[in-house]
């Protein structure tokens, strides 16, 4: 695949005329997807796809073409040449772009992370056998994912990973279920067995008679999976320099006097994630970018375009300025002490469908989902019927933050809209003195 990509890059080089430059970012994958329901297979299949975002620039005039490729070097070389010609025709009528910023140094890189993952059909066989007799619903995505960058200055970046991502739920009845996942680079049949067994064990707790709680304030523990839903909402411009500069970030108040608890720290840790160490314009990304330190906003994700617009320095963010390897610092609460520390309140396994009820105030709402339990005296009493929370992040991670867990989880993004997304979050659980529930 890397050689094929180089062929495409050379085709773009050859199509250029004097004064022109190109950049080309590549995304490809060969994925087995298997969708399961009721402990059976609903839709199994395979998807092969590869595409480039080809930009032609002449001075400050530029335009791009997103082009799906066939995989045949002969056909795709011609497609690249045609795309360059089409873009050249378009450039003549376009104005100069005052916000175009391209790298001024050549920074090539190569990262290959291969894995030994069993064939997808064998994994499905294992999963359905381990969960036999249970109402399992879920999804397996496995196979190679490739990202690349090339430009007419000779820069080449290549990033290839083999990942697997298995997400599943076991249902007791209606909406009472336990959700789990197993994702990463290194497959272990023992680890799968352990995780499925743990899900089955938790299903017994979900099967108890459910408790309905009244709206009000409750102590709450959020697992890393529940915290992921909160940080996913922050991916909508929360750490974006452009959104901060234009007051659209939910964290914009932190540029003034708003603060989180001093124990709260976020950073973009590309070095520890699965995202490539280069972005789509060819800029290299730092291994670590501090975003919130000691509860204060100390950084932002700055794309090249935003850098030019607002006079900032880019730190290799993509155009969306959304984290791709967000990491939150751990605390000191031991995993075995979580329920005792919670004492009486809600142990929330998952949140769902978050959105802002007042974005400038970082006030967000969402639902509990899957394994969420009522806890009394440090003991799980009953699963809880779904409840809606509505609270501000400044209260949740501010005055109401009691503890963060010492252990963090790295969660690979399961998003497969259009393509398998290469991003991750690494998060602790959070114990809150109070969380507001409204419906």
């Amino acid at each position: 695949m890397e050689a094929y990509f180089d062929t495409l890059a050379r085709a773009a080089d050859a199509a250029l005329r004097a004064g022109e430059a190109h950049t080309m970012s590549f995304a490809g994958e060969a994925t087995d997807f298997v969708r399961m329901n009721r402990g059976k297979v609903r839709q199994p299949g395979h998807v092969e796809q590869r595409s480039v975002a080809l930009r032609l620039a002449n001075g400050a005039r530029h335009a791009s073409h997103l082009l799906t490729l066939t995989g045949s070097a002969t056909i795709d070389r011609d497609a690249i040449a045609s795309a360059v010609a089409q873009l050249r025709g378009a450039l003549a009528s376009l104005p100069e772009d005052p916000h175009l910023l391209l790298p001024d140094t050549v920074t090539s890189s190569r990262s290959l992370r291969s894995a030994t993952v069993p064939p997808a059909a064998a994994i499905v066989d294992d999963v359905l056998t381990l969960a036999k007799g249970h109402d399992l619903v879920g999804m397996l995505a496995t196979g190679a994912v490739h990202r690349g960058f090339a430009d007419s200055r000779g820069q080449r970046n290549w990033h290839a990973v083999d990942t697997f991502n298995l997400q599943w739920s076991l249902y007791h009845r209606a909406d009472k279920a336990v959700r789990s996942s197993y994702s990463g680079l290194d497959w272990s049949a023992d680890e799968l067995r352990t995780r499925v067994a743990a899900t089955i064990d938790q299903l017994a707790l979900v099967s108890r008679p459910a408790k309905t709680i009244a709206p009000g304030q409750y102590r709450a523990f959020l697992t890393p999976a529940a915290m992921q839903e909160i940080t996913d909402l922050l991916h909508w411009g929360g750490f974006s320099a452009r959104a901060l500069e234009t007051q659209q970030s939910a964290l914009a108040k932190m540029r003034a006097d708003a603060r989180f608890d001093p124990r709260v720290a976020f950073s973009e840790d590309i070095a520890d994630g699965v995202a490539p160490a280069f972005q789509n314009d060819g800029f290299a990304r730092p291994a670590n970018t501090p975003l919130i330190t000691d509860g204060k906003l100390t950084g932002a994700l700055v794309s090249p375009r935003t850098a030019r617009e607002f006079g900032l320095a880019t730190n290799g963010a993509n155009a969306s300025e959304s984290p791709e390897a967000l990491s939150m610092a751990a605390g000191d609460l031991a995993a075995g002490d979580v329920l005792a520390a919670l004492d009486t309140g809600l142990a929330i396994g998952n949140l769902w469908y978050l959105n802002y009820s007042d974005r400038p105030a970082a006030r967000m709402t969402g639902m509990t989902r899957f394994a969420t339990f009522w806890v009394e005296g440090g003991k799980i009493v009953a699963p809880v019927d779904v409840m809606r929370f509505d609270d501000t992040l400044f209260r949740m991670l501010g005055d109401n933050l009691e503890a963060l867990t010492a252990k963090r989880e790295m969660l690979l993004e399961a998003n497969t809209y259009g393509e398998r997304v290469l991003s991750s979050v690494t998060l602790p659980g959070a114990l809150l003195r109070s969380l507001s529930f409204t419906l």
Partner: protein, 472 residues
């Protein structure tokens, strides 16, 4: 393209080709953004073999590529046949023949320079005040040809053109930020040509959008309490989408989505007996309205699409389920098995899901409210995984007192429960209040699919709703 002769040892196969061309134009803060072109072509092969079902998608549409995709799909069908949730030998084997074309398909669209001139004008109108700190006018054009071939002799060719115009502004002053848009983020999206922009007054809308955002900066928060609510069409579409459309999707009811998008409070036994809403509630699946975003003649499994009532007089009649889901459940359905591209398999989706108009004028709707608010343009949406407990927010609201529209208020939100909310539908606006809107971003499925859906809705009044405002 001529199809090679296909010889495959299978019970049924289909090939669904998608060929798409796109152009994206935008002007942000009066600066033309770089032109983005798009070309996307590929094919999805689906095979039934030995009782199993399999698919394979490839951008290689050569004869060798098609054969390889079909063989790979057949291999998946056979490899998982013993685990198949349904015996594919019992599934329908469609043989549709027909065509479809979007309205105004042959009409000429502006050149890139003309688009940038038009968007530049809209941008200048929107960025009219120093307190407008960000603003953008844009349009995406997408042209697609879908061709479905089946082993039973079916062939359907459908040609579409979609336009997605949008204007949005952010206003900020004295620590307050407010956003306003033209019918929501990409809320204006239809099939056709330039007439779509004229239909929504796009060229001059920037001034109104900006003025309303500035007005919101100085407005008080929406009051809290239980009161009547008049929802404008650009909020009604979200209300219909989230609390009628998704819960009626048959694949959710069958459990396919429970690991991701969720289940439904609707169960199979409720069809034909359940009173979903008041007698004023009439919901149709209508793929026949030409300009609406998700109009088509056949779905992606080859079922013929027709206008069908899902809820009539408030009574739940049928779900949103395609031919395979109908076979699995034994329930009636509609032609709504759709994929968002060549690289994803069809699943049950909304297409055009509309609330049929009533007989009240807009003035009648306002006059019917003693104390309440009118909310416009969705800005926030959240609902539980059974599609019951919801909370929605809007960009703008006006108080209604004694049957008259009053002051503007900011940060309007309301919450409720789907199973009860639609029974509080008290007045339905007439055809003059209907707007044909939609979204290109309806997310669902494993693997994920973001698909285009259309919603036509009148303004409506609901009684005794839990309303509240924001923090700042």
């Amino acid at each position: 393209m001529d199809l090679p002769r296909i010889s495959l040892d299978a019970d049924f196969w289909s090939l669904r080709f998608v060929d798409a061309r796109g152009q994206s134009y935008a002007v942000r803060k009066n600066v033309p953004q770089p032109l983005v072109l798009a070309t996307d072509s590929g094919v999805m092969a689906t095979v039934y073999a030995d009782g199993g079902y399999g698919y394979a998608a490839t951008p290689d549409t050569s004869e060798a590529g098609l054969r390889e995709a079909l063989e790979r799909a057949a291999a998946w069908a056979r490899a998982t046949a013993r685990y198949a949730i349904d015996d594919s030998r019992t599934l329908p084997r469609p043989a549709p023949r027909g065509e479809y074309a979007s309205p105004s398909l042959a009409s000429k669209l502006p050149s890139p320079a003309e688009w940038y001139d038009m968007l530049g004008h809209a941008s200048r109108l929107a960025g009219c005040d120093a307190r407008i700190v960000d603003w953008e006018a844009l349009v995406d054009v997408r042209e697609e040809t879908h061709r479905l071939i089946t082993s039973e002799g079916g062939e359907v060719v459908q040609r579409f053109r979609f336009l997605f115009p949008s204007i949005g502004v952010t206003a900020h002053a004295n620590g307050v930020t407010q956003q306003r848009s033209l019918n929501g983020y990409r809320g204006i999206c239809q099939q056709g040509g330039l007439e779509i922009l004229a239909r929504f007054g796009f060229a001059d809308a920037g001034t109104r959008i900006a003025q309303q955002a500035l007005e919101l900066l100085a407005a008080p928060n929406c009051p809290s309490g239980r009161m009547d609510v008049l929802l404008a069409p650009d909020q009604m579409v979200l209300q219909i989408h989230e609390s009628i459309g998704h819960p009626l999707e048959l694949d959710r009811i069958l459990g396919d989505e429970r690991n991701f998008a969720g289940t439904s409070f609707v169960t199979p036994d409720m069809f034909g007996t359940y009173q979903y809403g008041s007698a004023l509630l009439n919901i149709t699946f209508d793929p026949t309205r030409p300009e609406e975003l998700a109009s088509y003649a056949y779905d992606d499994e080859g079922s013929r699409a027709e206008k069908t009532f899902l809820i009539r007089g408030g009574l739940l009649e049928r779900p949103l389920g395609g031919a395979i889901s109908q076979a699995r459940s034994g329930l009636p359905g509609v032609a709504n098995a759709r994929a968002d591209g060549w690289n994803r398999p069809p699943i049950d989706r909304m297409a055009n899901l509309n609330l049929e108009p009533g007989d009240a004028t807009f003035d009648d709707l306002v006059a019917s409210i003693e104390r309440g608010v009118m909310m416009e343009t969705n800005s926030s949406w959240s609902i539980d995984d059974s599609r019951n407990k919801f909370q929605f927010g809007c960009e703008r609201a006006r108080l209604i007192e004694n049957g008259e529209l009053g002051a503007v208020v900011k940060n309007p939100n309301y919450r409720g429960v789907s199973a009860k909310f639609w029974r509080s539908l008290a007045r339905v606006g007439n055809a003059d209040t209907v707007r044909v809107l939609g979204t290109p971003f309806c997310g669902k499925g494993e693997p994920g699919q973001s698909i285009r859906v259309g919603h036509a809705a009148p303004a409506c009044v609901f009684t005794d709703v839990d309303v509240f405002g924001g923090e700042i």
